[in-house]
């Protein structure tokens, strides 16, 4: 075991942090683009809701459950062919984002679903009585009323993604997880392990704090 050259090492840490941020950020964006509409669909196709449709609801419900039952580390390996098809490779930061999105989207869908279900049904009834169209009810009543809770729930998803992105490091995805495994675990540098863990803690704290602030600002009081 050789001593680490810290002056070089900090550059690696900086790069790994950026990789983690990029992986988490882009995965969050793509997973939200999939998960938010999916979550809305899970609410409005429910029995007695705006676009009640038993078949669509059941299909979405089962698909979301199936994807959510696969542990991330298994999912990552299991969909390698699919990842190759999408981004042309199965190694690296870009490749890691495909399983991250597939992992996070159904999770976000469930979180969005629970936020929207919290909205007082009386508000929807009032919206109907005003002659609002179903789309107006979703985007002018349901979503704005749920916004504060949606932000808190998306914060949970973001933190989930930070954790998953570290796992993606284990299969060559880069990022802080990769650094921790390859230096800290495989080469027995516990000080490197400590640095990455501290960075992850700081990152999660920052995400949670901004989420709380934003959610509170949206609740306006």
């Amino acid at each position: 075991m050789r001593e680490i050259d810290w002056s070089v090492f900090w550059v690696d840490v900086w790069e790994a942090t950026l990789e983690t941020l990029v992986m988490t950020g882009f995965s969050l964006i793509f997973a939200s683009l999939l998960g938010i509409p999916l979550g809305i669909a899970l609410v409005v196709t429910r029995e007695g809701n705006l676009f009640e449709n038993k078949i669509v609801f059941q299909v979405l419900n089962v698909v979301v459950n199936i994807v959510r039952s696969v542990p991330f580390i298994v999912l990552m390996v299991a969909i390698i062919p699919f990842t190759r098809l999408i981004v042309g490779t199965s190694i690296g930061t870009t490749a890691a984002m495909v399983p991250l999105v597939i992992f996070a989207a159904p999770f976000i869908a469930r979180l969005v679903e629970s936020s929207l279900l919290e909205v007082d049904p009386g508000v929807v009834e009032a919206a109907k009585s005003m002659g609002a169209t179903p789309w107006q009810i979703i985007f002018r009543f349901l979503v704005p009323e749920a916004l504060s809770s949606l932000v808190l729930n998306l914060t949970i998803a973001t933190i989930g993604l930070v954790g998953a992105s570290a796992m993606a490091g284990a299969v060559g995805g880069g990022g802080l997880g990769d650094l921790a495994i390859s230096y800290g675990y495989q080469r027995f540098h516990s000080d490197v392990m400590l640095v990455t863990v501290i960075l992850l803690i700081v990152l999660v704290q920052l995400v949670q704090m901004s989420g709380n602030r934003l959610s509170k600002a949206l609740r306006r009081r």
Partner: protein
């Protein structure tokens, strides 16, 4: 304006079919304030929701302005709903929006131009007495203020009809009164027809012109508020009337009569309309040499007419009392009260 024709509504659940509304028919005329009263579970909430089809009747028809609501396309139905304002027991405001934005929503939904929204919302907030609360959020308001926002919102699109679903039931008595006064102004100033459902007889007494009493999904009595208060027929109706118009002798008075061992005759006299202003008691007292003793009574106003209900004891010769009662009976409604028998 609103016609219910044999409206019934069944709900089918895991425990079988439940009939919430059974064969209800009545008509609400333009410009009236029409009340539907009943205990909770009487089906009145379901009934009011059939007007704007928040609930579809299982059978029967609902006509609004002569149009059968069930035959409308989804788009036509939304247009009709914009002409029917609705106010709710729990206000149903958007908590994430300011008072201004809450009132502006119906206008925004109808794509009203921004420059027209501003003055209209201001005007509505002035009307309901919340001109200074424009930028507040609903959780900064009291229950009564929230309901005022609800009313302003319901009036935004200048509807012809206002549906009030237990609009005062979540409010304390003082606030209830102020909201009732506001609803009366809505009716008088904008000539908006109001259908209000409630379990509080005070609401019926204070603002309604006509009333239907519902029990177990059925209409049990219907008529002008004046008739219903002065001559309630069904037992439930009498109970509702008694809740605000005490026409039974209180126990303390009955005890007093029993204690004194008096056998004098007690009469209930109803004073209605113009006759309520006549000094009938003092006239018969002089003419038939009787003393009278008012044991219990209440005078109130129904549909802007005075209405009184007195229980009076006459003291004097039996013959004279008979004649006096006949005399009163020519002009007012009078009946003997038997204190040993209570209903």
């Amino acid at each position: 304006m609103i016609t219910f024709e044999n409206v019934s509504k069944q709900f089918t659940g895991s425990e079988g079919t439940f009939t919430a509304v059974k064969d209800v028919s009545f008509e609400v005329q333009k410009g009236d304030i029409y009340g539907v009263i009943g205990f909770s579970g009487a089906g009145k909430s379901t009934l009011i929701r059939t007007v704007n089809l928040l609930e579809e009747p299982s059978s029967g028809k609902v006509y609004v302005n002569g149009r059968d609501m069930m035959t409308l396309s989804a788009d036509e139905l939304r247009k009709e709903r914009k002409k029917i304002g609705m106010v709710f027991q729990h206000f149903n405001l958007c908590e994430s929006k300011t008072v201004f934005e809450n009132v502006a929503i119906p206008l925004r939904l109808s794509k009203t131009s921004k420059k027209d929204i501003q003055p209209r919302v201001k005007e509505l907030l002035q009307f309901v007495g919340l001109g200074d609360k424009s930028d507040h959020y609903p959780d900064q308001l009291s229950g009564g203020q929230k309901q005022r926002v609800g009313i302003a919102r319901a009036l935004a699109t200048s509807p012809e009809i206002l549906l009030c679903d237990e609009a005062t039931s979540a409010l304390d008595p003082d606030t209830t009164q102020s909201i009732l006064d506001l609803l009366k102004r809505v009716n008088r100033e904008f000539n908006i027809t109001i259908l209000i459902i409630t379990h509080e007889m005070q609401v019926i007494r204070d603002i309604c012109d006509y009333v239907t009493v519902m029990e177990n999904g059925e209409m049990i009595e219907s008529g002008s508020v004046f008739d219903l208060f002065s001559r309630p027929k069904a037992k439930t109706t009498r109970n509702f009337v008694n809740a605000v118009m005490q026409d039974q002798l209180p126990a303390s008075v009955i005890n007093m009569i029993h204690k004194e061992g008096k056998s004098n005759r007690l009469y209930r006299i109803l004073f209605e309309g113009d006759e309520a202003g006549q000094p009938v008691l003092s006239q018969v007292s002089k003419q038939y040499h009787l003393d009278f003793n008012i044991l219990h009574g209440q005078i109130t106003e129904l549909q802007d007419q005075p209405f009184g209900n007195l229980i009076v004891e006459f003291i004097g010769e039996e013959n004279n009392i008979q004649q006096a009662v006949e005399h009163i009976g020519n002009r007012l409604t009078v009946s003997e009260v038997n204190i040993n028998e209570r209903d």
